[in-house]
Each structure stands twice: as structure tokens, then as C-alpha cells.
């Protein structure tokens, strides 16, 4: 025992007091009690799989967050079950000329603190959405229209080129009082939605909403309090639903869904989604590289057993793609089916003179349910074809984007998911297949997929106000993209939601969100 230097020490009581106080102080002041106040009378608890850092979607935008964000803030329009733009803050939204849309703000629209929704609010919101770096919403606008105030709540949205999808795109611009808005994520503050933020704890990712007494629109919300909790582990979301600690959980894997199907007072709802998950080739390859040849890409795609993935690993919760964008989107065109024939894959590769090919697959964990398992299955699919596949998994938020921009290591196939919040095929086409050479200069293109003819078709379509002509242009663009075999295999996952039977009125839309105002507690 360390022999301490002797000396006249303080009396025992003094030392006792000192140590006791310090220790106790450390413990007591910093203790935390339970966060949730579970009076289960008229409340609903939602469990999200990602931490909802903000309540307006300037930067990140993931499926379930839309439901919560739209409960507090609203946009001029909203996408309904049939993926059409319904009017919300706007009482009129008409295309008065190819490059101009005239919009009338609904006179009844007021914020939860009584302030009226003004044109200035829309103007400031549009500007701030552009200022946020890496925003998910901004790149979907071919260009940002100018807001011209016409007085008494009326204004014109004027752009250089016609923006056919403007009503759809404006559903993502959430409106906040101009004075309170900032070029950053807001995790509290005032909105015009059915609920107001009573508590926001970004530390734990938990929020508490109360009914907005002054809600201007119909239907009026009936559930008194809504708790939003962050639960990253899917297994704990599923078990919490069983123990009724949570009422609604979303984006759950097929296996959890099948587990919950058998459970008495739980209902699983699913609808084919608008997200496109695929194993996209890296197009930034030198000309002589085998992967630059579409026929080699086609041959490789024959090795993938789509049925085993769709109905085995994902037990039927996804639909194999029959085109280059989800079949649920407006303007989708069927371009062909994926084929599974390892023999044909081997013979084609031999014909094309490709042997002992090494491929590197990369993905960010959590991109889509069972992503890691599917990637491990890919390794096995390619063994009989004589292709050696190596896997590289990235953690969420890690530096995968550096690899995707071609600024880090070389890779061949990327497991990627591209969400769609507008319901239009145009938006996904613009995002994935319409990159320009100029964007490639700063590595902002979509993995080197640069085909000027496809890009010009998409641009012409987005400016074509006549629907039939527009769909024709888009069909051509999709056919051309399909012929390039952009991905090994692709699928459209169902939007899946599970909730306790005591909670009703959850009308799940393909963009994987629902209107909280319509939710009722039995």
C-alpha cells in the first residue's frame, strides 16, 4: 500500500466532509432521469431509424423524416397517394406561361403563432435552400425560379427554361417565417403544420410535439402528443413495438416485417416505394478497361440471381426493376428485364476475351435493408463465373463520398439507393443519368455516367410542357440509359411501416411518408 508522506493531516471529519461532498456532488448533479413521460392516454410514439438532426429538410432528407418535418412545417404543395401535387399553403398554382407559374397563397394560411404566411417567407426559403452545402433538395431543381411578388399573397415564379415539374419540386421547400429562417437546419421554431415542437433534444434525437391549437387547415389533428424517438438498432425498434413502448416504426427489413406479421396487435403496411436501389457501375474507367464496354457490363449482369435476392434475402419485400427508374414514378417506361444465366455470363465473358477479372464492390452500411448480406451473396454469385469480388464497407457518414467522387481508391460497383420525394421519373433521371461533362470537371457528376445524348433528351423533356411529348422524350432517354447497362441489378423496395392496431389513419404514400394530422388513437 503506498506509504504516504506523514504529516499532520486534517481531522477525520474535515476529510470525510470533503470527499463525501465531492463524490456525491459528481454523482447527483449529473444524474439523468427517464426522458419520456409516457402518459399513454392520447399519445403516439414514432421510432425513426436515423437521428432527426433537423425539423426542416434543407440538408438531409430520409424517408421517415418527411412525415415528422411536414407535421411542423408545410410547403406550397404536397405529394398525395397517387403521386400528384395537392395544394397546401397555395390555393392556386397555375402555369400561366411556359416559363412562369402564378401562385396564390391561401388567405387562411397562418403559422402556429398567428403570423400570416407571406410571399417574403417563400422568397427567403427559396434563397436559403440554395445556400446549404450538399443539400439533397437543391440539385433536383434544374434551376431556381425567381419569386416576383404581385401583392395580396399572389406571386409569379419565373425561370429561364420552362420547369415542368415545379409543383412537384415545391413540395420539398418547407416554409418558415422569413425572420426566423436560417441557411442551416432548424430543429425547433414556428411552422404552419398541425403540430408544434414542445421539446427538442438533439442529443438523444428525441422530440415532443403538441397539437397546434391555431391549425388553419383540415383535418384537425386528434392525437394530443406525438413523441419522436431515435432508435438506430432495428432489433430494438421491433422489440419496442412488441412491448408497446413505441406505436409506429418505419423502414424495417423484410425479416422483421415477417416476424411482426405473426404478432397479434401489430399491423404491417407496405406499398411499392419510389426509391431506386441498384449496383451501379463505376463509369470513370479508362477506355480499354473491360468495364467500359457495355457488353461486358451486360454479361456480368447475367451472373446476378435477382430472384434469390428479391424473394430469398429480402423475402419478397422488394420488386426487381424493369427499367432504369422505379416503375411507380410518373413518366416511367419499361426498358427490359434482368436475366440470370451464369452459363451465358461465362460464355459471353469468354467471347469478349475477359478472364480472371477482379471487381471491388463498395457501399455505405444502412443504404438499404440487408445490404451487407446482399453484398456477401454477390461474392458467391460471381465465383462460378470466374470473377473475384472483394467487398469494402463504409460506415454511415464516413468518407464514401470521397470514393464516389473518384477522389480516393478505385472501385467497380457501388451499392447505392436514390430516393425520390417528388413522384416524378424526371427527378430521378435528372439526378442519375443527366450528368454533364462540365459537372465532371469538379467530380459532381453521378459516378462518371456522362452521355450527352441522354442528358439532352432529359433536359428537353423537363422543358416540354406537353405531357405526351414529354413522356416520349423520357422513354427514349430511359431506353438509351438501359442499353448502357448502368447497373448489375436493381430493385424498388416497398415502403414498409408497422404500427400497433390501436393507432389508425396511417395512409402510407409511396414516398414512404404519411400525414400525421390524419393519425387517430383508438
Amino acid at each position: 500500500m503506498t506509504r504516504t508522506p506523514t504529516g499532520t493531516g486534517p481531522t477525520r471529519r474535515a476529510v470525510l466532509g470533503g470527499a463525501g461532498l465531492l463524490g456525491l456532488g459528481l454523482a447527483l448533479t449529473a444524474c439523468a432521469g427517464p426522458t419520456g413521460k409516457r402518459d399513454t392516454a392520447n399519445t403516439v410514439t414514432l421510432a425513426l431509424n436515423r437521428s432527426l438532426v433537423s425539423l426542416d429538410n434543407k440538408l438531409n432528407q430520409f424517408d421517415a423524416a418527411v412525415t415528422v418535418q411536414r407535421a411542423v412545417r408545410q410547403a406550397l404543395t404536397a405529394i398525395d397517394e397517387k403521386l400528384q401535387p395537392a395544394l397546401v399553403l397555395a390555393s392556386a398554382f397555375d402555369q400561366t406561361s411556359p416559363t412562369e407559374w402564378t401562385v396564390q397563397i391561401n388567405p387562411k394560411a397562418v403559422y402556429s403563432d398567428g403570423r400570416r404566411v407571406t410571399v417574403e417567407d417563400v422568397k427567403v426559403a427559396m434563397e436559403l435552400y440554395q445556400k446549404v452545402e450538399g443539400s439533397f433538395v437543391a440539385p433536383q431543381f434544374p434551376e431556381f425560379p425567381e419569386v416576383i411578388d404581385q401583392g395580396s399573397g399572389k406571386f409569379i415564379l419565373r425561370s429561364q427554361e420552362p420547369i415542368v415539374a415545379l409543383p412537384w419540386l415545391m413540395s420539398n421547400i418547407l416554409i418558415t417565417p422569413a425572420a426566423d429562417n436560417k441557411a442551416a437546419e432548424l430543429n425547433s421554431g414556428v411552422g404552419s403544420g398541425p403540430y408544434v415542437v414542445a421539446e427538442a433534444d438533439t442529443g438523444t434525437g428525441n422530440y415532443t410535439f403538441k397539437i397546434n391549437e391555431k391549425y388553419w387547415a383540415e383535418p384537425k389533428p386528434t392525437v394530443e402528443t406525438v413523441y419522436v424517438r431515435f432508435m438506430p438498432e432495428e432489433s430494438s425498434r421491433v422489440t419496442s413495438l412488441r412491448t408497446a413502448d413505441v406505436d409506429v416504426i418505419d423502414s424495417i427489413a423484410a425479416d422483421s416485417a415477417t416476424q411482426l406479421q405473426g404478432w397479434r396487435d401489430v399491423v404491417v403496411e407496405s406499398v411499392v416505394g419510389t426509391r431506386f436501389d441498384h449496383f451501379f457501375f463505376n463509369f470513370r474507367k479508362p477506355k480499354n478497361h473491360p468495364l467500359s464496354d457495355p457488353e461486358v457490363r451486360r454479361a456480368l449482369s447475367y451472373a446476378v440471381d435477382g430472384n434469390a435476392i428479391a424473394n430469398g434475402i429480402m423475402s419478397g419485400s422488394v420488386t426487381p426493376a424493369t427499367g432504369v427508374v422505379p416503375q411507380t414514378l410518373i413518366g416511367w417506361a419499361e426498358t427490359g428485364k434482368f436475366e440470370f444465366d451464369p452459363g451465358k455470363a461465362r460464355s459471353e465473358l469468354e467471347r469478349l476475351g475477359v478472364s480472371n477479372l477482379d471487381l471491388t464492390f463498395i457501399w455505405e452500411s444502412g443504404e438499404f435493408p440487408q445490404d451487407a448480406a446482399t453484398m456477401e451473396a454477390m461474392v458467391e454469385f460471381f465465383k462460378p463465373v470466374g470473377v473475384n469480388v472483394k467487398l469494402k464497407q463504409f460506415e454511415p457518414g464516413g468518407d464514401i463520398s470521397k470514393w464516389r467522387r473518384g477522389e480516393a481508391g478505385d472501385w467497380d460497383v457501388l451499392g447505392n439507393g436514390y430516393g425520390n420525394q417528388t413522384g416524378l421519373a424526371l427527378t430521378t433521371l435528372q439526378g442519375m443519368y443527366a450528368s454533364t461533362a462540365e459537372q465532371a470537371k469538379t467530380h459532381d457528376d453521378y459516378h462518371g455516367f456522362i452521355f450527352p445524348d441522354i442528358a439532352s433528351l432529359v433536359r428537353r423533356a423537363s422543358a416540354e410542357s406537353d405531357e405526351a411529348k414529354r413522356n416520349g422524350l423520357m422513354a427514349q432517354a430511359q431506353k438509351k440509359a438501359w442499353d448502357q447497362t448502368p447497373s448489375l441489378w436493381a430493385f424498388v423496395p416497398n415502403a414498409v411501416l408497422a404500427h400497433r392496431t390501436s393507432v389508425q389513419g396511417l395512409s402510407l404514400t409511396p414516398i414512404n411518408s404519411y400525414d400525421l394530422a390524419k393519425v387517430t388513437r383508438a
Binding site: T239, D255, S256, S365, Q370, E376, L391, Q393
Partner: protein
């Protein structure tokens, strides 16, 4: 005619202590061998390929169609995945023990033998290491330098070297005072040679027990790291990863999570029991007294 009959003798403290030690070592050896032997013989045993998948036989319960432990989310045989996964876990564990053992013994003996400034520096390092938030630091290193097997083994070694260092230092402190060291000095043997040839060999014998305890700790640490995602690259799976992947199927396939955990527990309990048994046996007394003289430093155990 001694009054100590057999029945009396059997209840004597000494006999009971010896029996308890023997029981521990036997139970420990059995548990360890049950796990280690199949893992080492994995290549020879009639075990299916760990990566062969049958997607339509996924999440099958143990015993279905010859799968002893059932199948995982890709229909791969869980028994063979645990065996091959075990090879990596054991390899990492053994490598970590070797590195931390060597590092610990070298630094420990330097500190013990030369004392003074050398001892101060090394002891401060040991103390600083104990106050570092261990798992955070390991995760940081693995997250930043990639998760290959050597990196993980090295990281676990970094976590475990203070233990052997402290105990070796204590042993050397005692050995140094012994007459044979003084005699060697008189004979003009250089100080370092004395340390190397005489002092360390004496100390090594007691280090064997320590190696077992370190192996147990290394295996636990490796499984925690790979549970948190810091394991070797996919599709290869160590125990920790099998459990973390299996978490999504607790409801429908409880065995994916349960069995690998049991295997880890069996191995680590076995190794700990052998270590504990040896510690109480003949080596015990001296070893324990030394260990206690070391508790002057804030011990971790």
C-alpha cells in the same frame, strides 16, 4: 498410529485446496478444448464451406438438414462460420498476447531492473494507459487505420501490455536483489546480459499463467471490436460480427446471436479457469505475493 485418519485428512485445508485447483484446471481444459480443437481442425472436419449459401434455406433452426447450429441470413452453415470465424478470433488473440507479452516483459524488466528515470517513465505510461478510455481508443485506431487482422491484433496488444509490464517489473524488482545477480555483477557480466540471461528466464515461467489470462482478455476485446464493426473485411466473419449481424433476427432466429456468444464464453471461461487454477497451484503463493506488492499502483483488475 496417527490420529489423522483418511477421512480427516481429506477434509484438510491443503487437500481441499489442491482438489479445487485440480477441478478448475480440468473443467477449464475441457471447455477450452471443446472450442479450440474443432476450430484448429476446421479444414479437416467434414464441414460445409462457410461461404456456401442457400438463400431459400436461410434462418433454418439448428439441426435442420444436417446444419448442426442451423443457418444464418444467407442460408450459410452457422457451425462452419463459427469454426472459420474462430480461427481468426484465436489468431488475433494469440498474436495480441505474444505482442503484449513481449512488450510487457521487455518494458517491465527494463523498468524493474534499471529503476530510476526509466522506471518513472514506464510507470507513468502504464498509469496514463489505465486512465485512457480503452474501447474508444481502440475503435478510434481501427476506424482510422483500417481493420485488417494485424491492426486489430496490434491494437489489442496495446490495450493489454500494462498488465504483463507491471507484473514483470515487480518480479524483476525482487529477482534483482537476489544474490546470484550480485554474483554475476562481481564476475563482470554486463548489466544488460544479466537481465537477459538470468533475470528474465526466471521470470518467464510465471508469465505463462499471465499469458492465459491475457488471451482470455484479448478474445473478449476482439469480439467487442468486431461487434462494433471493427472486424476484418467482409465476407469474412469473426464471432463478434456474426452476433452483430444476427441482432436483426433475434425474434425469428435466436440461435445466430446465442451460439457464437456461448462459444466465446466457453473458450474464455476455460482459459480463465486454467489460468486461475495454475495461479493457485505451486506457482501461486510467490506469484500472489508479488502481484499484491504491485497493487501500490492503481491496478485495473
Amino acid at each position: 498410529m496417527s490420529a489423522v485418519t483418511d477421512s480427516v485428512f481429506k477434509k484438510s485445508a491443503v487437500v481441499r485446496a489442491a482438489r479445487a485447483t485440480r477441478v478448475k484446471i480440468i473443467v477449464g481444459a475441457v471447455l477450452t478444448l471443446i472450442v479450440v480443437v474443432p476450430i484448429v481442425l476446421a479444414r479437416v472436419l467434414p464441414v460445409p464451406d462457410p461461404n456456401a449459401q442457400d438463400v431459400f434455406l436461410r434462418l433454418a433452426a439448428p439441426g435442420t438438414e444436417g446444419h448442426l447450429f442451423g443457418t444464418d441470413q444467407l442460408g450459410r452453415d452457422l457451425f462452419s462460420r463459427i469454426l472459420y470465424g474462430g480461427q481468426v478470433s484465436l489468431l488475433i488473440g494469440v498474436m495480441a498476447v505474444l505482442v503484449s507479452g513481449v512488450l510487457g516483459v521487455v518494458l517491465g524488466s527494463l523498468a524493474g531492473y534499471y529503476g530510476g528515470k526509466v522506471d518513472a517513465v514506464i510507470s507513468r505510461l502504464i498509469e496514463a494507459q489505465l486512465s485512457l478510455p480503452l474501447l474508444m481508443m481502440l475503435l478510434l485506431v481501427v476506424a482510422l487505420f483500417g481493420s485488417s487482422i494485424p491492426v486489430i491484433a496490434f491494437v489489442i496488444a496495446i490495450a493489454n501490455w500494462p498488465e504483463p509490464a507491471r507484473l514483470t517489473r515487480a518480479m524483476v524488482l525482487v529477482e534483482r536483489e537476489k544474490p546470484y545477480v550480485a554474483a554475476a555483477v562481481v564476475l563482470g557480466v554486463k548489466r544488460f546480459a544479466i537481465l537477459l540471461k538470468h533475470v528474465i528466464p526466471n521470470v518467464i515461467s510465471q508469465a505463462v499463467v499471465l499469458a492465459l489470462l491475457l488471451l482470455a482478455q484479448a478474445v473478449l476485446l476482439e469480439s467487442a471490436l468486431s461487434f462494433l464493426g471493427a472486424g476484418p473485411q467482409r465476407p469474412f466473419a469473426t464471432w463478434g460480427r456474426i452476433i452483430s449481424d444476427g441482432q436483426d433476427f433475434i425474434g425469428s432466429a435466436w440461435w445466430i446471436v446465442t451460439i457464437p456468444g456461448l462459444v466465446i464464453a466457453f473458450l474464455v471461461i476455460g482459459v480463465n479457469l486454467i489460468g486461475d487454477g495454475l495461479q493457485q497451484g505451486s506457482v501461486g503463493a510467490a506469484f500472489r505475493r508479488l502481484a499484491r506488492s504491485v497493487t501500490a499502483m492503481p491496478g485495473r483488475k
